[in-house]
């Protein structure tokens, strides 16, 4: 159904360029995906330094193992989101585990996080769930038909009302309302249970 943001051809080409060790390709991949990686990591871990570290680890993985991406299984963006999700959740679990081992005394100083130390297991799982929803939402936004995404971007990020959105897109106001509603309906399915789509390639 969806027109993808990155055409599969670009994805395959990028994979080949990374595989043959082209540093310029790594830079381009960073320019395209760093904000995705960083924001997903930030949602999971809730702090800037940890998100930076995840970003470093994710791009190192992309650079060292581009062959683990399978273009047949989905867009490069989805694979990178999946790698990010895995790395970030692992880091979150490690952090919580260290906290439990060290006990509440001094753990906050050591880790420098803002999280509530008494949160425990349940809090961790709800964070992981929130991160999964965020990852699914990102996937949905980037795989929904471009006209729907454009309408959402205008209305949300550029704060245009639906009449201005209609004018910007050159469609009727009816159509603008329809796109905004349909776009949000698609996005709302991110809250439905289930693994983020296309996550098989994350290994």
């Amino acid at each position: 159904m969806a027109k993808m943001d990155a055409p599969p051809r670009w994805d395959r080409k990028m994979q080949q360029r990374l595989a043959r060790g082209e540093a310029a390709a790594l830079g381009e991949a960073y320019d395209r995906f760093a904000s995705l990686v960083h924001s997903l990591a930030h949602r999971v871990l809730g702090d800037e330094k940890a998100a930076d570290a995840v970003t470093r680890e994710v791009f190192a993985h992309i650079w060292e193992h581009p062959e683990t991406y399978d273009p047949k299984r989905g867009p490069l963006r989805t694979w990178i989101a999946a790698v990010t999700h895995r790395v970030a959740v692992q880091r979150l679990r490690d952090r919580e585990e260290r906290r439990r081992d060290e006990g509440p005394d001094g753990a906050e100083d050591l880790l420098g996080g803002e999280e509530d130390l008494m949160g425990g297991e349940e809090d961790l799982e709800s964070k992981v769930r929130r991160a999964s929803v965020a990852a699914r939402a990102d996937y949905i936004v980037h795989s929904m038909p471009v006209p729907l995404r454009r309408a959402l971007e205008l209305a949300y990020f550029q704060r245009r009302d639906y009449r201005q959105t209609a004018a910007d897109l050159g469609v009727t106001e009816d159509e603008a309302r329809r796109r905004l509603r349909l776009g949000l309906q698609l996005l709302s399915t991110a809250h439905d249970a289930g693994a983020p789509p296309g996550y098989g390639g994350a290994a």
């Binding site: 960073y30 320019d31 924001s39 650079w63 939402a137 209305a155 009302d161 905004l180 309906q185």
Partner: protein
Amino acid sequence: MSGAEEFRVEFGEPRERRIPTPRASVEDGGRPLPDPAGRGEDVSVPLVLPHDVLKSLLGAWALAACSAAETDAVEHHLGDCGACADEARRLREAVGLLHQPETLDLDPALRTRVLDACLDRRPPRIPVPEWAAPYDAETARLDALLQDFGDAEWHAPVRLRWFEDDAQTTRRTTVAGVIAHLLAVDGVIATALGLDDPLGHAPGAAGPSVRTEAYWRSTPFPQTRAVHAPWREQTHALVRTVSFTGGSARGLTVPYGGFELPLHDAMLDRAFGCWVHAEDIADAVDYPYRPPAPRHLNKMIDLAVRLLPGALAARRRSGLSTPPRTIRHLTPAGHPGRTLRLEIEGPAGGNWLIPLDSPSATPSTDWEVAHVALDSVEFCHLAAGHLLPEEAAAGQLGDKEAIRDVLYATASLSRM
């Protein structure tokens, strides 16, 4: 659905209660449009709309993208219609998923750290040449600055400044116009490398300002954010291409119209231009912007210093400077001649000896007649024509005439 029926029973068909609106439209079906502020009506009576219209407004409502009167009408309806209330709640939650404030302030310095870490772990087989690294870094920094610009920022006015015939010259444009300027001028390298010229069929060997004016004329006025993607694509294409041709491109020169630069100097020159104009843009929208990494800044300063003897000669030719009083003849090639020591301060700095009498003379400490000390960023601002020679806070020692000449020659390196 019964909610909608009730509305009809109570208020009749809405099309009979048509309300004039300040905006044009709704050719489609003659539906009423709300008076946004509820002017001319009792505000306590919500706008009445049929159920299917209210339902169609739920997305716009959740995004706060309808008029005040429509918002009231929807919210009034949600109290009566369970199905719409359920959907409204779901859509409101979905809006929360669009929120990505973290992407807006990704630290530009993170790029270098991440890429360096990657390249340490797996050395590249096709590296980005060292002389292209400043261009790669500066274009990425500017791109990061542009990332969250809205229309207001893209259309913010910018005054381009440079130095011509010993006076500051300016040209008005906008943020989008500056990006168009960078796209057009970077095109000299694209063309030299055999890539597409963003100008299409440009007049052969046109210089930066001719190219820029031609590009501005060839695109609808005013420039818009539409120029962003082609600019970024070209910057990526340049870095990609010089990575492949880097080794074999020795001897490749880039014509600038009137003069030419070797490819690696042209890439440095464009990195410098990118930084200078990124500062113009940052100033225009009141954002902070830092100077390039010291090792990149050092290379840009070195390029300017290498161009200085030629610029001094050009000033002599055009009668802007007087030949030295003590030595009336020019120094023969390869011989030591009068020398100025340029000391650039800061982590990007260093010491450079500049031959004053001829581009081909050999600078020598024995012939040092003057010593100038300048901060690295200030020197760059002078070379960009953003700082006037008489305003440069230079530490000066020795021949005043020679110092004046060098400062003016530095400013003369600037162009649009």
